[in-house]
């Protein structure tokens, strides 16, 4: 664990290029999404115990804090997905690595609007905006 923290520290204090931050974020989001997926499968399993139990679980998710986490999750999946695509493209089509910076901005160009839209739909109801 110690070296996880120290390597993260090295990562943050080093003036790397976008690829470097892309990697840190990719790893963090991948980790987050993976943990969530596990949770999600477990909570879905509750469906097997009938409607009441499941509603109980769904209720948990409607809490504002959970909604915020969910927004973060949405962002994570979308970022991870499109940055993953960026990595895959560079892996299999070498010339694209020369435009990796452009690709990186492109990823944000897709990720930000998508996340914002999804965030709106997710947050608006609980915060009484809609």
């Amino acid at each position: 664990m110690g070296n996880a923290i120290s390597s993260l520290w090295k990562g943050i204090t080093y003036k790397g290029g976008p690829g470097h931050y892309a990697f840190i974020l990719h790893r963090l989001t991948g980790l987050g999404v993976a943990l969530f997926v596990i949770l999600h499968i477990v909570d879905n399993f509750v469906v097997m115990f009938g409607e009441d139990a499941f509603s109980e679980v769904l209720h948990l998710y409607s809490n504002p804090v959970m909604r915020l986490l969910e927004v973060f999750l949405i962002f994570s999946v979308i970022y991870h997905a499109f940055n993953g695509l960026r990595v895959i493209i560079m892996d299999f089509w070498a010339p694209s690595s020369h435009v990796q910076r452009t690709l990186w901005w492109l990823v944000w160009g897709i990720v930000l609007p998508l996340s914002l839209i999804a965030a709106w739909f997710t947050l608006a109801p609980v915060f009484g905006l809609r």
Partner: protein, 131 residues
């Protein structure tokens, strides 16, 4: 004038990648698959249906309704790809940060156990749910 390799020497020998090669390759393939199914799933749930509209009934309609078989297949695919992709990712991360051989082996064994349990739970839910 251009002279190719073969005129001057035997061609290079053939070789095969092993497990790690496949792990890497699988991450790309599953990534592309997930890009469609996971992102669609996510956006459908959050923008299409929207979370506060999700109820037990919605879930039941989805799995038992006329589109049931499609959604069940879809969800099984999502489940397997996401878990295999995700757990391989977790394995990579474990290898990077957990350096003591004993701990490393322990955490990876634990990951495998969790993987089996979770994929079992997920598959059981999707397949045997009948309302």
């Amino acid at each position: 004038m251009e002279i190719i390799n073969k005129e001057y020497g035997l061609p290079k020998e053939k070789f095969k990648g092993g497990f790690e090669t496949w792990a890497w390759f699988f991450m790309r393939i599953s990534g592309v698959v997930l890009l469609f199914i996971a992102v669609i799933h996510l956006l459908w749930m959050h923008i299409g249906i929207q979370v506060e509209n999700i109820t037990y009934d919605v879930v039941r309609d989805r799995w038992i309704g006329p589109w049931g078989p499609f959604w069940k297949t879809y969800d099984i695919a999502l489940l397997t790809f996401a878990l295999m992709h995700g757990f391989n990712g977790l394995r990579w991360i474990t290898d990077d940060y957990i350096k003591k051989p004993g701990w490393n082996a322990f955490v990876k064994a634990l990951l495998l156990v969790i993987f089996l349990i979770v994929i079992g739970m997920g598959a059981y839910t999707v397949i045997s749910f009948n309302g």
